[in-house]
Structure formats: structure tokens, C-alpha cells
Symmetry: C2
DNA sequence: CAAAACGTTTTACAAATGATAAATAATCAT
DNA sequence: ATGATTATTTATCATTTGTAAAACGTTTTG
């Protein structure tokens, strides 16, 4: 799917705005496990998974924690850096061979001033992301690990391709615990 | 603090826009424990705590769960209803005697078309809320209940006034468990 | 004030999850 | 292919958290 078809499904922008947007979008291919952006600097990019699958991760007490998964036609954003200007402690990694679009956020925020349409489009996009994070809170706050795992399985078949250890930390549990849950379900 | 001082600290709008905004804001006082908006209908209101303290809650398996606390000069929004148009399963309750402003969302979204300024202001506001929810995920995903409690205590002294049972479910644990944690810390 | 209602703590026991190590299984690189 | 590496499962035991019930405290209200 073309990103513009996706964007148009959210909010249609003028042809001029569309061209302006095209100019700040880059396409890149990543190998399995390749780092898309490393931990450390201030995040100035909005990513969009065209094909494949990626994750946001960080380290807590030396352990690799997956905070977020993104599949086809989904945004990846480290909001706590992008919207605050603070350096990020989170990295982005392609889990599988992937095609990922990058939108330079500083250029985008400039375009907001010229094209009200573009600001609205991204406002709506980020509102959706916001809603997703709220749902994830509901999920983490009072569902058992087993329930959370069942929920995740429902979202996409792509989950099958994701290493167990990533899924475990995403669910907020250890690999061993997830392995037990799986054994139970069988 | 006046809400307009607060809003101006995020993004300054024109005098005209300000007047238009004033017209869709209502001020209400609530008694301790009073319901601000009940569970059920579609959420069409953005709330702002001027004084006091409120919470978002819902029921899971018959248990009252606190999803969110809002203190002075904070927004309260049930994003998953406001931004999707779906009915909400969450209610809002004043925890203490409170003054809470209500902004009608349908009117606000209309104003977005007339005043680019207002759309930008609220875009920035909701970006902040989005960042807060992301931080809460970090918090819930891999911090122990003890750590989460310590974090919460740091945020505001107002926590002292909040019933333990609300705090416990907010942290994702039972009252009994929180009571134990408190006994430990002493 | 006293009774009732509500909130918090404690206790005892059960269930879920963590930590560590070892055993298998699957994947990768030469 | 085969050895090395990485991923997953299993086992054992410790810790955390849940559940239920009772005890204790505090607040509300007639």
C-alpha cells in the first residue's frame, strides 16, 4: 500500500500539500534485525512501516525491553522525544526485512505553518496513536499476562514471526514466564 | 490559575480565538466524590481541573479501577472515546471538592476550522497528554509495584488526599498489596 | 455520643511470576 | 553439512501479588 493512500484515508490534503510532503519523505530498506535508529540522540524522525515489522526498544537494568511493535502501514514514533525535544533512550529496530519510510519532523513541523491540511492530517494520525497508547495502558494495568498474550495474538498473524523474547518484554513478563503461558494454552 | 494563562503557556492564540474559546468553556463545582460524567455515552467533553482533583475510572469484573488522576491545571480526557466517537466505558469523578472546566468537543472541533491557532493549541495539549501516557506505559511495563508507588508519591503531595484503594488500582495492584508495600517502606 | 459506614491493615494461604541453571530446539555462518 | 550461536522450554526454588476474612481505625450521620 502506498503511504499516500494510507494518509488520504485519514485526511485528504491538497495536491500542493501532497507534493510538499513527498519532498520530506525518504524510503529505506532494512535487513532483519537492522537498527533503524539507535538510542541516544534527540528523535527528529517519524517512521512509517511500509512492509515488514519493527519495534521500539530500550534498556532497563541491562535488559532489552520492547516497548512497541509496528506492522505494515503503521507509524513508529518515540513521542516522548519527538514532542518534547529531549534525547531519547529508545531505539528502533527492524525485526524482519522491512521497508520503512522516514519523515523529517523538523521539516514536517515547518510544513504545518504553510499547510493547515498537513497539520490536521498529522494531528489526526497522532490522535490515533494516542488512543492506542491509552488502550495499551488498560491492557497492562489489569489484565493477566495470559490475557495480554491472547490479545496480542489477535492483533496480527505477524506476531508468529516475532522472537519470543521480544513478545515477553512487550507483555511486561520474562521469557520464561511467557514460555509457561504458551505451554499452558496448548 | 486562570485556564487562559495555562493555555497561553502552551500556545498563544489571537484575541478573537480566545473569545471564541471562552464561549465554549463552562465552569462547574463538584463536591467530594461527585460524578462529573458517568460511564456510558459518547464522550464529547474535554475537562480541565482548575482546583481539586479528579479521576477516570471504569469497572473490570465488577471492580472499580482508577485509570488516571488529574490534579490542578491538568486536562482530563477519555481519548479512546473523544477521538473515536465510540461510547466510553469510563467515568470521571471528583475525588475532592473541585472546580472543573468543561469544553464541548464538538464546538471545539468546529472552531478548529475557523481558527488554525486553536487547532494548534489543542494539538500541542494533546501531544503532551500523549507523551504522558507513553511514560505511564514505561512505568507499568517493567517497574515493580513498589517503584510505581514511589514514583507516584513524587508527582504531587495531593496523593496524600487520595484514598488508598484508588491509588492501588491505579498502580495495577490490590489494596492489600499496596498496604503491604507501605508497611515495608516504613 | 453512638452506631453505622467506610477505609486500611493484618493474617493465612493460594496462584502467578521471577531468577537461575540446565536441557532442547532452531538458526546461522563458514 | 557441521559446529557455533541463538532461541525456547523445562525444572527448581524464591518472591511477589492475589484472595478472603477478620481486625482495627477513621469518618459520617442521626
Amino acid at each position: 500500500m502506498d503511504i499516500f493512500s494510507f494518509l488520504e484515508s485519514i485526511h485528504k490534503v491538497s495536491d500542493q500539500a501532497r507534493v510538499a510532503l513527498q519532498n520530506i519523505i525518504n524510503v529505506n530498506s532494512y535487513k532483519k534485525n537492522e537498527i533503524v535508529q539507535d538510542i541516544g540522540s534527540r528523535c527528529k524522525t517519524i517512521y512509517f512501516v511500509k512492509d515488514g515489522c519493527a519495534r521500539i526498544f530500550y534498556y532497563k537494568d541491562g535488559n532489552d525491553i520492547t516497548e512497541h511493535f509496528a506492522f505494515e502501514n503503521e507509524l513508529i514514533v518515540r513521542a516522548e522525544s519527538l514532542f518534547t525535544g529531549k534525547p531519547t533512550s529508545k531505539g528502533i529496530q527492524a525485526i524482519d526485512k522491512s521497508t520503512i519510510l522516514s519523515i523529517d519532523s523538523e521539516s514536517l513541523f515547518q510544513l504545518y505553518n504553510q499547510y493547515h491540511d498537513i497539520e490536521r492530517l498529522f494531528r489526526l494520525l497522532f490522535e490515533k496513536e494516542y488512543v492506542n497508547t491509552v488502550k495499551r495502558i488498560e491492557n497492562l494495568q489489569f489484565m493477566s499476562a495470559k490475557e495480554r498474550y491472547a490479545e496480542l495474538l489477535k492483533t496480527t498473524d505477524y506476531v508468529q514471526k516475532i522472537p519470543l523474547k521480544y513478545i515477553a518484554t512487550y507483555l511486561g513478563i520474562t521469557q520464561v514466564s511467557l514460555s509457561r503461558i504458551r505451554a499452558d494454552v496448548k
